[in-house]
Every structure is written in C-alpha cells, then in structure tokens.
Symmetry: C2
Subunit: 457 residues, 2 copies
C-alpha cells in the first residue's frame, strides 16, 4: 500500500515540490493526490504520472475537503497562509500530520496542545524564509554551542532577486514573487532591532536609507534594509543573551536608495484611494505627490523636491520605469497609490519567459569561544532555471517535500505545532538540499561587531 | 421660571462659557446647572453664583445623568468628543436641544432623522475650529454669492499659539491645548487637497516641509502645514466647483522645519512601545533612532543623519528642549516614542502661570465676479488673558454659549443635527463675538491663485 500524500494548492511555487515527490514515488512507495481548484493547469508530466491523482477541490467545500484529508496519510498545505487553519482543524479531526511553509499564526499556535495530545506533527515555516533561514542558522548556532561558544551576534538576510544573466535593468531587480508584498515591504510599523546591546528603531520613511552592505564571492556586493521583526526569533533561537540581532532583506546596491524616492513621494501608501485613478497617466500619477505649479515641469519639481542632483544616477532609474510618461495610463479603478505604483513597476519588472531568478541568503554569527571573540559568515546563492522552475520555487518547495517524507518515514518524531529548529529536522534536510545545489558556504572572519569601519583608531 | 441650562463637563475650556451664562443669567432669566465629576474645582465666583447649581455627576451613572438631562431645558456637552453620543441619546429620549463644540461623529450624524422628527436642534462644531472657521468662512462665501460671484479658491488656516509677549523660546511655541494632539498632528494618512483643479497628496513624512507663509499686520509672518481633511467641507460649503481647497494649521515660521526632525527620526510614532522606556535619559531616547556607533556622539550622528549643517539654527532648537541631556529621565512605563517626546516637550513648552496664548485664523477666498478674478483675505487674532482665561477657551466657549442662548430664545430654528453654516446662526454670533474682541479683518487683495511667485514672466 503506497503512503498517500495530499498536496492542497498547486500554485506556481509547487513545481519542485511535486517533482520531488514524483521522483521518489516509486522507490518510496508514495501516492500523491494534488488538490486544487483547477488541477488541469498542472504540467502534463505531473497529470499523467502513474503515482498521482488530481482532485479538483474548492477548499470551502467542507465535505469534499474533509473527505480528502481523511483519506490521506499526510497533508501538505501550499495554500495562502490564512487558509491553513481550516486544513489544520481537519488534520486534528482525522489525526493527520501537516506540513506548511508559512509563519505559525496565532490560530495555528493555539492548536499545539491538541496536536501534541494526538501525537501529531504540524511542521510550519519550512520553506525558504521562513525555513532554510531557520535551519541553516540553527545548525551553525548549535555547532558553536556544542563547542562551548556563547552567541554575541546574529544577523540574517534574505533576498529574492534576478539572476546575473537576466539582470538587465537599472534597478537590478525584477518581481520574482508577489509584487504587492514588494511594494508594501517595510510598512506597518518601525523596524526594531538590537545592536551591541542598544535597541534601535527605524521609521518606514528612513528604512531604505539605513542599509548595510555585504559581498558574496562571484556575485559582487549586495545591500540589505532591516526587517520589522528582528527580535521575533530571539527566544526561538535561544539568543536572549546576544547583543546584536538584525534581520534584513537583500537587494542589489542602489536599489534601496532609489526605492526611497517612492517612499518619500508617498507612492507606496496603500491607505487611501486616489480620486479618478483610472485613465490617469503615469506622469499625472507622479504629479499627485508634487507641489502645484502653473509653469514648472513634473521633472524639475521632482528633482527639486527630492534634491536629486543633475548627475545623480537614481534619475535614470525613474525614467526607465516611465514615471514621467504622459501616454501610459493607469488601468485601475479606485486604486491606492501603492496599487498604481505596482502597475507601473509590473510594466517594467515582470520576468520574461527565459528570465532566471536568484535567491541570496547571508548569515553572520558572532560568538565568544575560549575567551576570544570570533565570527562565522555563511551564505547561499541559488539560481533559477526558468520562469516555472524558479530558485524561489526550489528553495520553498524542496524543504517542504523533504520534511513531508521524513515525517512519513518516522525520522522526524517531535510532536506539536513546530518550526524546523531541531537537529532531527535540519540535519537531514540541509544535507539533502546540497544535492539539489542549495549549498551554504561558511567562512571564519574576524569578529568586528557592528559598523567596524566607524571605530576610530 | 428661569430657563434651565445643563452644562456637562466643566474642564479648562469652559471659563468663558460659564462667565457668559452667568453674566446673562439675571437679564435672560437663566439657571445654569454645572455637572462635572468634580465641580468643586470651579472658581468660587462660579460656585457661589445665585443662578448656578453644582451637580457632581459621573456620566456613566445612567440614572443620575438621565435625571439631569430630563430636568434641563437645553444641554451643553463640553465632554470629550467620544462621550457626546450618550448625552445625545438622552436628549432624544427627553426631547432636549443639545450644543457641542465637537465634530459631528458618524453616530451623531445617524441621529439626524430622529432629531428632526422631534423638532429638536443638535448644534455641533460651534467652537473655534470647527466653529468660528465655519461661520466666518460662510459669511464671506454667502456674501460673494449674493453679489453673483462664483467661488474659485478657499483656503483656511487656524493655529493655537503663544502670545507675542509670552513668546520666549526658540520654537515660538508652547502647548496651549492638548499636547498629545500636537505630537500626533498630521498622522493617520496622507494630507489631501486640491490646487487649481489638481489633486495633491502629502505623506506624513513630507507634511512639515510643504508649508506656506502668510503675514498678519502687527503680528508678522506665520507658516501653515496642510490638514488631512481639506476636502471634507467641499459639499458642506457648496464648493464643488472651486479649483483650490486647502486647510492648514498655523505655526510661527521655522516651527515646522524643526518639528520635521522629530518626524524624520521617528519620535512621533505612537504605534509601538519602546523597550525599557522608564528611566531612559533624554539622550538615550534620541539615540534609539540613530545608527549604532561605538565611538561617535549622539550629537554628530544626529547632525549627519538629518544633514544639519553646523550653522543651522534648528540645532539650537533641539538643544533648548534638552534632547541630548544624559541626566533628565523619561518617567513613563511602557511608553511609545510619541508619549516620550511629549514628556520631553512638556518640560519646555508648558505655559507658565502668567503666559498668554494666541489664536490665529486666516482665510483666503478667490472668486470670479463680473468676469474678473478677485480675492478676499480675512484674518483674526485673539489674545488670551492668562492661563485660565485663554484665547482658546474664549473662542471655543463663547460661540457655544451664544448658540445655546439663541436656541433657547428661538432665534435659531433649523432643526436636525447641524453645524453653524446657516445665516441665522453665524450672523448674530459673529456680530456678538466682535464685542468680545473676536474680530475678523477683511482685505481685498489681487487674485493670484496658488504659488503666485513661481509663475514665470
């Protein structure tokens, strides 16, 4: 009897996930039921594979959904994060294990006692970020502690970018994931972190000017701006004593300074609707945020307002996305500035058919061992193959698939609502990921603390 | 039988309001019941006046509150705005007219049919701003229309400031009203207005750099930043056709540029709690918002971060409020940045016993009459007498008191939930206010539209 895996939601991030299961189906004795509103969108090779069944499923159809969960041996939910909870409740009712790549919501967290009581495993946050970041960080941190080291500093950065060979615009950026999340990134409150024991807060309108740089051999220099949640993992990772905790988002150098122009103008605001948005030209959109003048050009007003010198290279970035174009029109009714900006950027930043994406992750671990301060940096670069087999789909989907099989095979045993910070989880998965080209390089570097270059003498 | 006026809430803004009623009590045959949680805080002259009774009242005591409303002929609510609705419902139940100085809330608006049905008058927004602004604007606008003019432009500005003789700090500002509202001013969404037919939006972090100037004879130059709500009165004032609508808050020149430093740093943020706020020095508070450095001073980091030149006069404004003081401590537990900033500012900006405040209002009316574009500017300056008899209390309290008497005497007749935009309301009140020194000066000036100086040739 094959073990039955139910995958709910077969969107674009599931290519590698499904391929992994299908590759192992014969040797591991698996049958994969793929439940989706429209499973006919899947590639022919998946649809006709002898170890798959397709299940057209509206997840709001309680009866059909419960039936599918009941028949499975384990459930993988690749649905949008807010929809996991319904599946999770079914999994409790029918005593099934569950795997998701999403953050543990409050509702999910609340299920922990019920999950434990039934001896079940609900593994969450086992994609890329969250996911590979947890696993790769905990592996190094546990290693440092095993030697008797004490953590002083942890910084972690991730970015979804475009691969060098497809990197052909001035922003060195294209949308490789949900564009709306990119436009709204950093909003909703100040970024909070701790550096050398001092709490620091960055308001949204300064976020993109407080970047720091990092180099990755063979890939050049990147920059990162702070995430809102740098302290969220302090207790999870056992880093209560660490003096520096910082999480950030990676971009190519210069992106943040240019993006800051949108922030300063107010173009990323999603809190109000612009009057008469539909049919407005990109130029008129830009002018909404500039002082009125009966004579001066939108260009000069913007240059003056944001103090952009004549020879500042950010200027050509604005021209490249047609921000001053009087003919291109916004097609959205009752749109917010953020929605209008998203349309403008999608015009320029959508991946072409043959474009490849790139995932970059960078960790810094500062610690004291035998009375000496030391530092390990670790980084990972993964390149996509094409628009379907993206680096994003690979790094999100493979850990989910691997965890599913490990649970099925009894190699992950810890019960409850959990995230992949246990050795029994991260050791086999990080090892197996290497054979798929998901490899971390580690370097011992001098411990310099924060902003080393600013230290006098 | 005297007419019975019930005044609920006798806070610091009610000095002139009560004096007005007491002065008229004998001639108009009034009895004033002053209901407050602690009416013993009132001045002796009010407490012992033959035409008053004091009623200690917890407004959440339904029985006592209803009894008080039932016994009154008219009710004046000087409570915080959110508490009016309870009083309003009592007034409907017992068929009483009501007067408040607050904005009409959604809940209040919803009572309109019930109020009309009973032939009642609920007069709101009849203080200073809202209040005197409505009345003075509508008087000029109605006058222009009566001559056959068509409105093109309406701009309106109000500010609560410190009187010139008490103006002795570098900010030319002290708190004359609720300090919390000053710290949070402009937050909660982009400012929206229309200039020469073009919609304009200013995000919060640019609000204090988009000021405009105005001169008032004898008082010098002022500046104003945009309010969020410039379009709210478009329909109320019948200005659907006007090309320019702008409302703003008046400050002394230079205030906004300096205030913008707090905004840029993130010190006005009220959305999160700072770790370990209690006992933090003012200097440490400032450092929360600056990049970490093991060696550089808070002063230099701030100068660099905000690009403040050595000779920039905003710098001494920061020093004056002790922003770099390592000894002065925040006394608040679990405080937001905004609450901490408020404490720091209250240290410096609280009115001294003999300090006098000042209210400034400035309107611009652009219109076309007989084919010619014309403009009328109108302004008002009111000075306070002392810390109790403030210009704020006068300009808020007197219109409320006058409207109450006009309703009692049947001179205001229009029923429903309303604001003072009708001739029957504004004509007698603006006239009577003049005898109290609340006087508008009007000037015919050349119509220049907006930003006249930027028009070439």
């Amino acid at each position: 009897m094959p073990r039955k895996i139910l995958v709910i939601g077969a969107g674009k991030s599931t290519s590698y996930l499904l391929d992994y299961f299908l590759d192992k189906a014969a040797s591991e004795g698996l049958h994969i039921t793929i439940a989706d509103l429209r499973p006919d969108h899947l590639p022919l090779s998946v649809r006709t594979h002898p170890h798959t069944s397709l299940l057209p499923l509206d997840i709001f159809d309680d009866e059909a959904r419960k039936k599918a969960v009941k028949e499975a041996d384990i459930v993988v939910s690749m649905l949008p994060a807010r929809l996991h909870i319904t599946i999770a409740e079914d999994c409790i009712a029918f005593q099934k294990n569950l795997v998701t790549a999403s953050y543990v919501s409050k509702e999910m967290k609340a299920l922990d006692p019920a999950v434990r009581e039934r001896g079940l495993i609900f593994m969450n946050e086992i994609g890329l970020d969250p996911g590979i970041d947890h696993m790769s960080a905990m592996q190094v941190i546990d290693g440092i502690r095993a030697q008797g080291g004490k953590m002083l500093l942890f910084e972690s950065f991730t970015g979804g970018l475009v691969a060098p060979e497809s990197d052909n615009n001035l922003w060195n950026y294209k949308f490789t994931w949900n564009p709306r999340n990119v436009v709204l990134a950093g909003q909703g409150g100040a970024a909070k972190f701790i550096q050398e024991g001092t709490y620091k807060y960055i308001p949204y309108h300064k976020l993109f000017r407080r970047t720091e740089f990092m180099d990755i051999e063979g890939y050049g220099t990147f920059e990162a701006y702070a995430n809102r949640d740098s302290l969220d993992y302090r207790e999870v990772y056992g880093l209560q004593e660490a003096l520096t905790l910082y999480r950030g988002t990676i971009r190519r150098v210069g992106f943040s300074k240019a993006w800051n122009m949108f922030v300063q103008l107010g173009m990323t605001d999603d809190s109000y609707v612009v009057e008469n948005s539909e049919g407005m030209s990109y130029r008129e959109f830009t002018n909404l945020f500039l002082p009125y003048s009966p004579t001066d050009s939108v260009e000069l007003k913007l240059r003056h307002y944001l103090k952009i010198d004549q020879d500042d290279s950010t200027w050509s970035k604005l021209q490249e996305i047609n921000l001053f174009d009087p003919h291109k029109k916004i097609k959205l009714k009752r749109a917010t500035p953020a929605q209008m900006l998203q349309q403008i950027l999608e015009d320029s930043w959508t991946l072409a058919e043959e474009d490849k994406d790139m995932i970059v992750m960078y960790h810094k671990f500062g610690f004291v061992l035998d009375g000496k301060k030391r530092q390990i940096d670790a980084n990972m670069v993964v390149l996509g193959e094409n628009r379907t087999h993206t680096a994003m789909a690979k790094t999100v989907g493979l850990p989910v698939a691997m965890a599913t099989l490990l649970i099925l095979n009894g190699q992950i045993r810890k019960t409850g609502v959990q995230i992949p910070i246990q050795k029994e989880v991260y050791t086999p998965i990080l090892k197996e990921l290497q054979s798929y080209g998901v490899v971390f390089k580690e370097f011992e570097v001098p411990y310099l603390g924060y902003y080393p270059d600013s230290v006098a003498g």
